[in-house]
């Protein structure tokens, strides 16, 4: 068994950086494509798809970084999602949590893909529910925590369904193409 050297660590990190960058690029381009086709970017959440997929392919730190950068960069390049009101920062927290949870559970703890994806979606809902609670506090609206969660789940349902369908298929397709990206790589490879 080959002991990992700092050079191999650098190679792993470089590949991770590069993969996260390309997935982030998709996170920029997909919403543009969806908007151009009139497919309701805020309904189907196209930015989430590549970021969540990346969460299954890279480590938690890279996944969280990607989750933060994509919505902010999209805002800087296109104005959407907006920085004010703080939708882009909210999405940054949301996507970072989602991608990091997926990575942690799938790659670090070796849980099955479905379990990691479900947990990532729940993490997303929790962040959104917290944001809804803060917003309600600001607008002096009173409601219980379950009500926030219910609203959040209903509103994000189309995007959630799309992710449940597309993410596992995509992750498996990538792992077939690049076997090294599986959580337990074959022996003897970098």
């Amino acid at each position: 068994m080959v002991t990992k050297t700092s050079s191999q660590d650098a190679l792993s990190r470089a590949r991770e950086f590069s993969l996260a960058g390309l997935m982030g690029a998709l996170g920029l381009l997909l919403p543009i494509g969806f908007h151009a086709l009139g497919w309701g970017g805020s309904v189907f959440l196209p930015m989430h798809l590549p970021v969540v997929v990346a969460g299954f392919l890279v480590g938690p730190a890279a996944a969280a970084t990607l989750g933060v950068v994509v919505p902010i960069l999209s805002s800087v390049l296109t104005g959407m999602p907006p920085l004010a009101p703080p939708i882009a920062p909210l999405m940054a927290v949301e996507l970072a949590a989602k991608a990091a949870v997926a990575s942690l559970l799938y790659r670090s703890l070796r849980l099955p893909l479905w379990a990691a994806l479900a947990a990532a979606i729940v993490a997303d809902w929790v962040v959104l529910a917290l944001a809804a609670w803060l917003a309600a506090g600001f607008f002096a609206i009173e409601a219980g925590p379950l009500q926030y969660l219910a609203v959040v789940v209903v509103v994000s349902l189309p995007g959630t369904i799309l992710q449940l369908l597309a993410v596992p298929l995509t992750v498996r397709a990538v792992e077939r193409r690049v076997p090294r990206l599986r959580p337990t790589p074959p022996e003897g490879r970098d």
Partner: protein, 249 residues
């Protein structure tokens, strides 16, 4: 005997499942020498190049300018052996050409001012205008991208320059221009290519790899002069096609 620029001894590599991609390859390249690496598709040319820089770990020995490749010496080897990929886009990963070309010097601790000057020299060496440095790679033509990627390697002043299919997507003028650039370089070169004309114009010696084995290490003249050898190595189409003339692949 003078120190070899590149010395490979008994290099073997397997992708797994028992099949050997490279089998017991040995050769030597002297300083300043230009050698063509020929072979049909799937022969193992690219695999060999990846093994030379340590991205793939084979068995056997690779030594560049006296430094043996092993865990701990990869960085030094990669500083001495520059590899130009078949796809230049894979080597232009920063937002501007300047960031790409200065990447190597800055990563190895060269001062920013010196890195910037080295980048200007490298860009000039590959025949691109100085203004190219400020441009993003996607604005360049495919020939310009290839030269920009080459500049990002030459800036490190490698002892050996390995090129993987350097004439891909280049027109005749581009190939001639690249040939001129490579002829001016003092470093040893290992050029993996299907373009036999290009190889013949640049290299006096040819290594032929077929099915992972080094089947020939001979002068270019001797290789190209033998139709039989070219066909048996899969470097030319069989006689009988194209009005009886063999076609160099």
């Amino acid at each position: 005997m003078a120190l070899a620029a590149l010395e490979v001894t008994g290099l073997s590599y397997s992708y797994g499942q028992g099949a050997l991609a490279l089998q017991d390859i040995s050769f030597r390249i002297d300083p300043g020498e230009r050698v063509a690496l020929l072979g049909p598709n799937g022969a193992g040319k690219s695999t060999l190049l990846w093994c030379l820089v340590g991205v793939l770990r084979g068995e056997g020995t690779v030594a560049v300018d006296g430094t043996v490749l092993r865990p701990g010496t990869e960085a030094e080897i990669r500083g001495k052996l520059g590899l130009a990929f078949a796809e230049p886009e894979d080597q232009l990963f920063m937002p501007t050409v300047s960031r790409d070309v200065t990447f190597g010097p800055l990563a190895t601790g060269v001062a920013p001012e010196e890195a910037a000057r080295a980048a200007e020299r490298a860009i000039e060496r590959v025949g691109l205008p100085a203004g190219t440095l400020d441009r993003p790679a996607h604005e360049l033509s495919s020939g310009e991208r290839r030269r920009a990627a080459l500049a990002s390697i030459l800036v490190m002043d490698p002892v050996v320059l390995a090129l993987d299919e350097p004439t891909n997507s280049l027109d005749a003028r581009g190939r001639a221009s690249l040939s001129d650039i490579l002829m001016q370089l003092p470093c040893a070169q290992l050029i993996a290519t299907h373009d036999l004309e290009f190889a013949r114009a640049l290299c006096a010696r040819a290594l032929v790899v077929v099915n992972g084995r080094l089947v020939s290490d001979t002068s270019m003249c001797a290789l190209v002069g033998s139709e039989e050898k070219l066909q048996s190595y899969g470097l030319a189409a069989p006689i009988g096609r194209n009005d009886g003339q063999s076609v160099l692949l």
